[in-house]
Amino acid sequence: MIARIARPAWSHWLRASAIAIGGAALALSVLLLMVGRSPAATLAAVFLNGFGSQLAWVETVTRAVPLLLCALATAIPARAGLFNIGVEGQFIAGAIGATSVVVLGPNLPAGLMLPAVTAAAMAGGALWGWLPGLLRGLLGVSEVLSGLMLNYVAIFLMEHLVHGPWKDPHALGWPYSIAFPNAAVLPRLGQTNIHLGLLFGLALTLAAYVALRSTTWGFSVRLTAANPRLARRAGVRVGLLIALTMALGGAAAALAGLGEVSVIQGRLRPGLSSGLGYAGFLVSFAVANRFEFLVPATLLVAGLYTGADALQLTAGLPSATVDIFMGVLFVATFIAQEAGKRRGDG
């Protein structure tokens, strides 16, 4: 109950988001005017590229699937009061886990392949989330800082594997693992890159929403976030709970990594993620980690991101414009949220 009372009404978040999008659009317009492009036409092109056609929607959903899983990876621990900044590393650890099955057990029967790959991915991501969770729960070590460092450990581990022991001897010497056999690739929707991860993401979101609202476990999570000392006195094993939510988050991020490595890339290789973990983190906090808003928020951000192709394609602007757009959007969101919250409080 405590956690609920502390949260402003949903209309507040809606208003904050609207203000933020407006602010970002305004800032981008200033930028566009500076370089002599029409703001109205360019912004319209961004919107159409994100939401204006069937192709746009397919691409937006494709982008939204890993984003949703990464946002979940942030939101689940966040509801227990934790900052899971290690999503990027958990994403990669998931990809490494999945690839380990393909590399080490290529002769598994086809029927077992997909379950094994999925389980290994989730185990990898869960391990990467559990470590900072354990350190936090056991010793009180900041999960922000340890998670951040573990991101780099995961990246270099992956680089080492694909440049060394896991390098495909037939890839012309490029740092790629062997390709995933068809049996190890998540099923996809027709010809698109939308894969089973979408169902995983939706199911997990729903489960997390329900679990948090109506189970004892969900109550202990909320209690821990609101007041760990009180939770401990009420009999919640706070350390265990923290490690568990972090591991759950890691497993969700790992599913995004699994989709990326099996469906999109088809093999493990450097440059797998391009910052999806951080993007998911920002999206989740942009809606205050509320599960009911995760799906629309990821769709919106994914749409704006894919729509931002238009900045290069039809406005002839350099790619850094996209980063500015997204950066302003998130900063404006947080400002609008916090400012609104303050007004509400006072």
């Binding site: 200033v30 492009r37 680089e159 490029w174 391009s274 192709d309 394609l313 406005a315 400002i335």
Partner: protein, 380 residues
Amino acid sequence: MLKRFLTLFVVLAVLGCQQRPDSQEAQGTAIPQSPGGPTYGFEKGSPKLQVGFITVGPTSDFGYNYQHNQGRLALEAAMRDQVKTVLVENVPETAEVERVMQRMAAEGAQLIFATSYGYLDSTLRVAQKTPNVTFMHCLGDKSAPNLGTYSASLWEPAYVAGVVAAMTSPKNPHFGFVGAHPIPPVYWILNAFTLGGRSVNKAFTVDTVFTNSWNDPAAETEAVKSLADKKVAGVYVLVDSPIAGVQAAERAGIFALAQHADLSTFAPKGWLTGSVWGWAKLYEDVARSVINKTWTNRHVTGGFKEGYVALAPFGPAVNSATQKRAHDLVTQIASGRLNVFAGPIKDSKGTIRVTAGKALTVPEILSFDWVVEGVRGAQQ
């Protein structure tokens, strides 16, 4: 509150933005087209051939991506009435590639150049989905009915560069090589450069350092410094953007050679020469073949003969005898009288890999995983 933040943003923008008038045009992100003002993006329905380019890094790197963009600009300049080009840069080798390619196809692109090897699988998939668009994948080895591959024999100028290096520094035949990753396109160049140097001076050696990144100016600077400490006469720099390495060499007072584009302005004293991709010619040839409907999915490649590679301009340290020798070699290679990878070639462990009278085939070159005699320090 928002207003305050926006003011801040604008102040910052203006602060950093001493916009030079040539900013956009110089980097080639936008070319004024019609007299009514600049237009950007594809012109769907126009009789011109609509050509899309995708690069993995920024075209401002004065290196790999820059040179692809130079090729695009030259194509548009040469065939202004027949082609319209659009470039999207910084596209990571993830689901993004497929999206950008499909979008290009949807907006009217008829020919798309995927300029990074890492786009391989994505390009294959999009080519299947959009059979009416012609795709060209750089450095690749897989094709489809509407997907061709292209490359250029950049080892030819690298070999000549080695000759120039060895002739310019007869007393100290020890050079350095800064590469990104130990992968085949780096090994072609390293090996050809070393073979060229050793054809002049049997004592020619090349100390090799990898930065393990395509883009890390600090690491490249440090790599050159560490080689300069080892008293090398000069360095050959092969990363996406060789500016940092070339400038570091100039500051260390050693010779500089580099790859991708002409970087002579960054080392006015120590610049020797370099290997340059001649994409302008290749892009023009491919565009013409598509317009003339003679395009097939064969592997388009070539060297000096086709104009697909070139030697960068010489620096002041290269004397006229050396320049003449270099020009002779270019002619010999172009005419097929000289094969850069003709035997006998030993590897760095002393084993003969190519016997006399034979030469490496192109597939063998493209999958190099060993280095020739004279190379030191490369990871095996």
